[in-house]
């Protein structure tokens, strides 16, 4: 009974926290949009042609600039919540619609990378922990080391150089036409999943080593539990908890990685949209991308916290 209550308190705390993170994101984006100077300059340069002083003032009233800043923020937030987002500067299209269009490719290949990272990183981590000091361990640790230090964008470009330009094995650019054209997925998935795989490997390895050294494993070994049961049931199941907590770390890496990977491979996703927004100086798009991405990030974080609490009963509900 008490446990259930604590669980609910924990849940509520996490929800409140997620809300604060979202509000923080809106504060920052709105603050930046106002701190950068009169927002009218996004539409017309000072002293530029084609805008009369009357039109300038009218634009100000239209955008609500004659009201106090707090009011402006409230109006802005209200519009965002209603789905009534600003138009992009370059092609005057609804930012919300643009983002919805760009979301599926990003989700598809991010999911592919996540699976790739898990499939590659977790077994290698177990392997290198179980056979500590062996060739496998060295290979695994070397891989983890490279994954941490190699810049994503460079890996992507080098993969293109080797596998598309020189060897001509895989095509590059976009994700193909069909729902899942695997040839197009290989290079971007490896590029984005590489770091995550390395992180998983490192975390699984270190927590596995710690678990295998603990008393209950020694007891199980003394009881004569078979080797496979020992590693997978006693060791691995407990060792998987630590990497779970680091999922948020992986997610941040994914966001950065997706912007870079989509830019390199010309995937028409959310990250590419952000890159185009930089090149075109398109502020409204960037605001939209940040908000959507923060929302995704906060929700995912919330769910990993939940899973973590469910998987590990020892967690302190704080």
């Amino acid at each position: 009974m008490e446990g259930a209550l604590r669980m609910i308190t924990f849940l509520v705390r996490r929800i409140i926290f997620a809300c604060f993170a979202m509000i923080g994101a809106t504060f920052i984006t709105f603050g930046l949009s106002r701190a950068a100077g009169d927002p009218r300059y996004l539409y017309a340069q000072e002293g530029g042609y084609g805008i009369t002083p009357e039109r300038w003032d009218a634009l100000g009233v239209e955008m609500g600039l004659d009201k106090p800043v707090v009011w402006q923020y409230a109006v802005w937030l209200g519009n965002i919540l209603k789905g009534n987002w600003q138009d992009s500067l370059l092609d005057r299209k609804d930012v919300f619609g643009k983002i919805v269009d760009r979301l599926p490719p990003t989700l598809k290949f991010a999911l592919a990378s996540y699976i790739f990272a898990g499939v590659l990183g977790i077994p290698l981590g177990v392997l290198s922990a179980v056979s500590r000091g062996s060739l496998w361990d060295y290979l695994g640790r070397g891989f983890a080391l490279f994954g941490q230090a190699l810049p994503v964008f460079w890996v992507g470009i080098m993969l293109i150089l080797v596998f598309s330009v020189k060897l001509r094995w895989f095509p590059t650019g976009t994700l193909g036409d069909g729902f899942f054209d695997w040839k197009y997925y290989v290079l971007p998935t490896v590029t984005l999943g590489w770091i995550a795989a390395a992180t998983y490997l490192r975390l699984v390895r270190s927590s596995m080593l710690e678990i295998l050294d603990s008393e209950f494993i020694k007891l199980a070994r003394a009881k004569g539990v078979s080797y496979n049961t020992l590693i997978w049931k006693h060791g691995f199941r407990n060792a998987l908890i630590a990497p779970l907590t680091f999922s948020s770390l992986l997610l941040t890496g994914f966001i950065t990685g997706a912007v870079v990977t989509e830019t390199i491979f010309s995937i028409p996703g959310l990250g590419r949209l952000a890159f185009e927004a930089i090149t075109n100086n398109d502020f409204p798009i960037m605001v939209g991308v940040v908000l959507v991405w923060t929302a995704l990030y906060v929700t995912m974080n919330f769910f990993t916290d939940m899973i973590y609490a469910l998987v590990d009963p020892r967690i302190r509900y704080t």
Binding site: F17, A18, F20, G24, A25, Q148, A149, I157, L161, M286
Partner: protein
């Protein structure tokens, strides 16, 4: 015989018998020689970039465009009949001698000596040839608009060094002071600071940084401030943890009784106890900062061009990956070596100074 072999193996195993090679290897494994050497090299090149760089990193010479590194063979790119701009050239992509034979020119020592000679030889035969010439003058070749790649990498070291140092100091000041305050005073202040830190970690930094760059423009100052506000969070968490245990020590209580001001206690009695943690985190953080700076520069939201920045240089070479891989390759290697050295050094320092931090990640 067998016995002798076993005892030799045993001796080797217990380390009684060491050959000089093994000793060197052991030394390298125990001390972070290679990372330290690479970092020293980075700092040295950063400081003396002006003296070391063979060319001006900003001056572009169109005829040096995409020239290959010195060990790559010089090749004839394309050849066309006459110099009519409307005639489309034939692609050749062959080494000089081979290309000359293709166009019925006899290669000699004189006409293959340098780029001008080769071009003159082709001109004599009535062709206009485009030659890619590698030379010791441009060891790593030239970039997409004909700037010397090596000089740009050397100056890029300086740029990285400056940006990251300033950003780290910025982050240290904020992070350490917030950690000290949160840990020492506890209560509501602690709660607020820790929640702010959590929320800060909950934001997708790279996107916020891009928004800021679009809003304020791409300048050095903005980049440094952005990296600074990225770097403070881990300091808060770990310094706070240290302070929580340090503030209960007897010498802190004694200092209080002796009438030291709170500021004095924080700076003179508690701060020195957290130095180990700070050094370890700072080292590990610098690598992250260099990577983030490179990513921002790559995306065109970092160091403003034409200042050489490693990340931006990788991006410069992206469209030319087909025929000039070196433009993207070498700056990436530079980033990799520096970040890897920092990670190695950080891990080593952590094991030496603060083994408890092993849990960090």
């Amino acid at each position: 015989m067998a016995q002798v072999q076993i005892s030799e193996d045993l001796l080797r195993q217990i380390g009684a018998e060491k050959n000089s090679l093994g000793e060197i290897w052991g030394f390298i494994r125990r001390w972070p020689i290679i990372p330290l050497f690479l970092l020293a090299l980075l700092i040295f090149t950063g400081i003396f970039a002006d003296v070391l760089a063979p060319h001006d990193p900003l001056i572009a010479r169109p005829d040096n465009r995409n020239i290959p590194p010195v060990w790559e063979t010089s090749i004839v790119l394309n050849v066309k009949l006459g110099d009519d701009p409307l005639v489309f050239p034939d692609p050749v992509d062959k080494p000089i001698e081979e290309a000359m034979l293709l166009y019925n020119i006899t290669p000699t020592l004189e006409n293959t000596a340098n780029q001008e000679a080769v071009e003159a030889a082709f001109k004599e035969a009535g062709y206009l040839a485009k030659v890619k010439w590698s030379s010791w003058d441009h060891i790593l070749g030239g970039d997409n608009i004909g700037r010397d790649l090596l000089s740009r990498i050397i100056h890029g070291a300086r740029v990285s060094l400056v940006v990251v140092t300033v950003a780290l100091i910025f982050g240290l000041l904020i992070g350490v002071s917030m950690g000290l305050v949160a840990g020492y005073f506890g209560g509501l202040i602690d709660e607020v600071i820790m929640r702010v830190t959590d929320i800060w970690l909950g934001l997708p930094f790279i996107l916020v940084a891009i928004v800021a760059v679009i809003a304020f423009g791409q300048t050095f100052t903005i980049l440094i401030i952005l990296l600074g506000i990225l770097s403070w969070t881990p300091f808060v968490r770990n310094v706070r943890g240290e302070v929580l245990s340090l503030k209960t020590r007897d010498y802190v209580s004694l200092a209080k009784v002796a009438g030291c001001s709170t500021f004095r206690i924080l700076v003179w009695h508690i701060l020195p106890g957290t130095i180990n943690t700070i050094i370890v985190i700072a080292t590990l953080r610098v690598g992250q900062l260099i990577l983030t700076e490179a990513i921002l520069s790559f995306l065109g939201a970092g160091i403003p061009p034409p200042t050489p920045a490693w990340g931006a240089m990788v991006n410069d070479g992206r469209p030319y990956i087909n025929d000039a891989w070196w433009i993207s390759f070498f700056p990436g290697v530079a980033i990799f070596l520096v970040v890897m050295s920092l990670n190695f050094l950080g891990d080593w320092l952590r094991d030496r100074l603060d083994p408890r931090l092993r849990q960090l990640n």
